[in-house]
Symmetry: C2
Subunit: 218 residues, 2 copies
Amino acid sequence: MAYRETDKVRSRKAQTFDKILVAALYVVAEQGFNSVQMADLAKRAGVATGTLYRYFPSKEALCTEVFQRATDVEVSKVQQALAETSGNGAERIAAALRTFAERALRAPTMAWALIAEPVDPTVDQARLDYRQRYARLFELAIHDGIRDGSLPEQNAQLSSTALVGCIAESLVGPLAPARSQEVNSPEQTRSAALIIAPIVNFCLQGLTGRPYEEKFHD
Amino acid sequence: MAYRETDKVRSRKAQTFDKILVAALYVVAEQGFNSVQMADLAKRAGVATGTLYRYFPSKEALCTEVFQRATDVEVSKVQQALAETSGNGAERIAAALRTFAERALRAPTMAWALIAEPVDPTVDQARLDYRQRYARLFELAIHDGIRDGSLPEQNAQLSSTALVGCIAESLVGPLAPARSQEVNSPEQTRSAALIIAPIVNFCLQGLTGRPYEEKFHD
DNA sequence: GCAAGAAGTGAATCATGGTTCATATTTTGT
DNA sequence: ACAAAATATGAACCATGATTCACTTCTTGC
């Protein structure tokens, strides 16, 4: 025998793998999934087309991977908001919704790609999973809320799905035009708040069945 | 001159046009937009491939037309529910939501095609319009509700968008598996009611900020 | 019945863009 | 330095399915 994978090679391969993912992530964040083309992507990543296929079995698989990575970040942010906010279940859910929306409005193209862009069915399947992950986070929080008395008894699964639908849909509109300028001007930040507050309001009322008064938050 | 379009021809052309649309509508209702293929569609409609292009400039245009026709039916049903239900704004909105959901669950594949199927961007644009049409209907009804005192003051535009998001998303889940059997067994009808009530509940609470008690309805 | 003008046909064409593969280059152990 | 084994290359290939177009068939007015 005269060749065996060594650390040097292993790490180089890992680097290449990352280069590809980073390039893909960049394209998606900038233009969405439909702009991902293997030849172009290879160029951006500084490798040959064929090389892509040494790291991913297909474009679908590559895109799915990108989707999942991007998604993981968002989900964990929401999870974090849910976990780190002090207060009862209802308040924590409100904070999580705000986090979700703020992040989406701050990176509109990426958010649109993850939430609403028409994509290949395989990737779309990943999107369903992803929505379910969100829903499940909320579902747990709703149960907490019921337990601590901040939410009335209810079908937590359906309510959580409704929550996801509300934020997602409410953002699709703002996201579509916003997709042009990636910038974050002060006006945009302000107008974002204008959108977010009523959404959170609606969602919390839907959950609690009582008027929601916004607490102070930064 | 020796040829001028006559009524006979005109009506035959209209018939062909319809045959094509009907065939397309059938495929969509049965399999979704992605199963529409020009050659196949031509066969179903009993015409040649080329003929399709004498009636529609492109597949996109054809699909968009189909989408819009199917959509018009649904939108007008909701509009009807909104208009024909007696009661205050809130009650009429509840009735409209029920109508929307019931119809969707009764024709899951079509509903899925209109609401959630990954489709070509051009058709997808039509979908945005369609959601906005729904939202606008609800928006008007919300204003009515505010006026008649059944709803508190609120940003009707955002609330209406949230409503659309809630029902749409809440139905996507049930629609995905349901898409297999088109049938309408009694159990399905019952399980549909189980889904619909909580959704309407959530939506109405979101709008009113008070617990929603389901009124009697058939 | 005939010529002019349409409408209808469907096999051939074309565009797109993902995927392959014969070849070149690198790496490693001896 | 060399052979073995793997990785990298990118131009050629291929699959799909929409679109075209040269040709045929109808319609119509005279």
